[in-house]
């Protein structure tokens, strides 16, 4: 049945989340630069500046009116822009501009179609998986229930794995199609690494699925609003601590970030699978990486840190287990919960960057050994223990 309100709500949700993801790609480059600088006692990027001119000469007939308005309009806007420039926020814009105007180079030995396809295979799945992430509770608008999630799919997390897994094709195809030895080495590393960790990645989450009894992400989040022993929020990390560690490690490995950045390994194989990419094609790989960081942070919060749930916050407001209530209007509750979701995402983005600037890259044999000889058995043991505990608690 066609319902214009739901259609408009869907379009709004898609555009807002698309907007957030695109901006996250740019802003995370800023976060990464600045956070690295702060960790290393530096100041970081702060030179790019975008200012309005007070006098223009190249707009023909518009010159007259513009020169009347700009001297009044420009100073206050520039006053706002200057501190942003000092913070280094315009460096992401400058980067984007630089990449757009760079030569779009393709080596002679490259496979033209696959070479151009690889960046898309990197960025499209990163956007697609965002549609199963619940950003907030269901809300009532004009008598209709609208979930704050683009697609409430029955397969939920399996969709995330299915489309997240496509990213390996981007690395493998991109490296192979470049016709470059370093790129090929990078793509082989990427394939071996991502397929090895895909196993632990999938198995680490099985325990969580067993505990919650569902693969739907929205239902998982709802269940995480309950309390254990009357005071402990039933977050995934409480129920599945080992599952959390394994999943987070595998997530870092899947995202090809330090300490698992062997496919890029710039000190060994130039830039790995995107050695031959320049301009905006390289920019697309870069953006995909940062979007994956954001999506990964969102998945961690949804699966293990209660998603949009705030401990003790229910539909009517806070109800504390030690007694006492704090009533809030429904609208404020929803805003708090969506805010909590984004706070959690930001925290995990921060943690990802912090790990990236703390740890050293693994050696390849260490990486494969960790994946197959530690994480896989640990994930299987986690499933076994989870099952055992569940059986014991039922009986």
């Amino acid at each position: 049945m066609f319902d214009p309100v739901i259609l408009i709500a869907d379009i709004l949700k898609v555009s807002i989340i698309f907007f957030i993801l695109l901006n996250a790609g740019g802003l995370l480059t800023w976060v990464e630069r600045k956070q690295a600088a702060v960790i290393q006692h530096r100041i970081g990027a702060n030179r790019a500046l975008l200012l309005l001119s007070t006098k223009v000469e190249r707009f023909g007939a518009l010159n007259g009116p513009l020169n009347l308005i700009l001297p009044i309009l420009a100073p206050p806007i520039n006053f706002l822009l200057r501190p942003l420039g000092k913070l280094g926020l315009f460096h992401a814009l400058a980067d984007g501009g630089k990449m757009l105007f760079k030569e779009d180079f393709m080596p002679t030995g490259a496979h033209p179609f696959l070479f151009q396809l690889a960046p898309f295979l990197a960025v499209v799945p990163a956007f697609m998986v965002a549609c199963v992430i619940p950003f907030g509770p269901d809300i009532e608008v004009m008598g209709r229930t609208i979930p704050l999630q683009i697609a409430s799919l029955d397969m939920g997390i399996l969709f995330f794995f299915a489309f997240g897994g496509i990213a390996v094709y981007s690395a493998a195809i991109g490296g192979w199609a470049s016709g470059n030895k370093f790129a090929l080495l990078g793509s082989i590393r990427a394939s071996a690494q991502m397929i090895s960790y895909e196993v632990a990645y999938g198995l680490a989450i099985v325990g969580t699925m067993m505990v919650f009894g569902t693969v739907r992400l929205d239902e998982m989040v709802v269940q995480q609003g309950e309390l254990l022993f009357g005071f402990l929020p039933a977050w995934g990390v409480v129920m599945q601590p080992l599952g959390f560690l394994l999943f987070y490690t595998a997530l870092l490995a899947e995202g090809k970030r330090v300490p698992f950045d062997l496919p890029e390994g710039e000190s060994e194989i130039v830039a790995g699978y995107f050695t031959e990419y320049s301009g905006m094609k390289f920019g697309t790989f870069f953006m995909a990486e940062f979007i994956e960081v954001f999506i990964g942070a969102a998945m961690i919060s949804v699966l293990f840190f209660g998603g949009w749930q705030v401990p003790y916050l229910y539909e009517t407001g806070f109800v504390f287990p030690w007694g006492g209530t704090f009533n809030m209007p429904t609208f404020m509750v929803v805003v708090t919960q969506v805010g909590a979701m984004f706070a959690k995402i930001l925290f995990f983005c921060w943690l990802n960057v912090q790990i990236r600037w703390t740890l050293l890259r693994f050696r390849f044999d260490q990486l494969i050994r960790l994946g197959w000889k530690f994480m896989l058995p640990a994930a299987l043991a986690n499933i076994f223990i989870t099952g055992l505990v569940m059986v014991l608690m039922d009986s």
Binding site: V38, I39, H41, R42, G44, Q354, I355, T358
Partner: protein, 190 residues
């Protein structure tokens, strides 16, 4: 007999370091060490962020064109030729500096000094700064306190090599207070 007494010399021991041999179970798990590393970087991050938030500079970076580092007064930068009281060069074209120069970057042409008390003066005194290694041998070799290397370095960069060859006029007419500063700095240390 004497052989046995010699053997008291301390034995050299070689320390064998095998990191894996000493690793405890916790170290082998790798995870506690990750947490430790993260806590170090996070502590630094939070400390520097706090400095930023409270308006202090949370870094050691010097923002060069706006902020400048105080160099030691003995810094060896761009050369200067000291003047006599009448403004003529103190240099007597003795070729000591160009002889001492390891980079062979000083070119001097001598001429007769009008004052009979002084033997010579330089007619040309060129320094090729693109060859100079800023070792300071020229100022050490100078017997007349005529050449010094000053603490200024911002006049040095040029767009092409020919502009890096500086002549007598340039070297003599630089700010003479730099000479006094450098002399004081050298005296202060001695």
């Amino acid at each position: 007999m004497s052989m046995s007494t010699v053997a008291t010399a301390p034995e050299k021991t070689i320390k064998v370091v095998d990191p894996r041999a000493k690793m405890s179970v916790l170290d082998q798990l790798y995870f506690p060490q990750i947490v430790r590393g993260l806590s170090i970087t996070t502590a630094i991050f939070l400390r520097n962020m706090w400095a930023w938030m409270t308006g202090k500079k949370g870094g050691v970076t010097i923002q060069y064109p706006e902020e400048k580092l105080e160099h030691s007064p003995r810094y060896r930068g761009l050369h200067i030729l000291a003047q006599r009281d009448d403004g003529s060069p103190r240099c007597v074209a003795c070729y000591m500096c160009s002889t001492a120069c390891p980079a062979d970057c000083i070119y001097i042409e001598a001429e007769e000094h009008p004052d009979p008390a002084i033997e010579k003066r330089p007619n040309r005194f060129d320094i090729d700064l693109s060859r100079c290694v800023f070792c300071g041998f020229c100022e050490e070799a100078c017997p007349c306190e005529a050449i010094y290397m000053t603490a200024s370095y911002e006049d040095l960069p040029q767009d092409n090599f020919s502009d890096l060859v500086v002549d007598l006029d340039f070297l003599l007419n630089r700010d003479q207070t730099l000479v006094t500063k450098k002399k004081n700095a050298i005296k202060g240390r001695r």
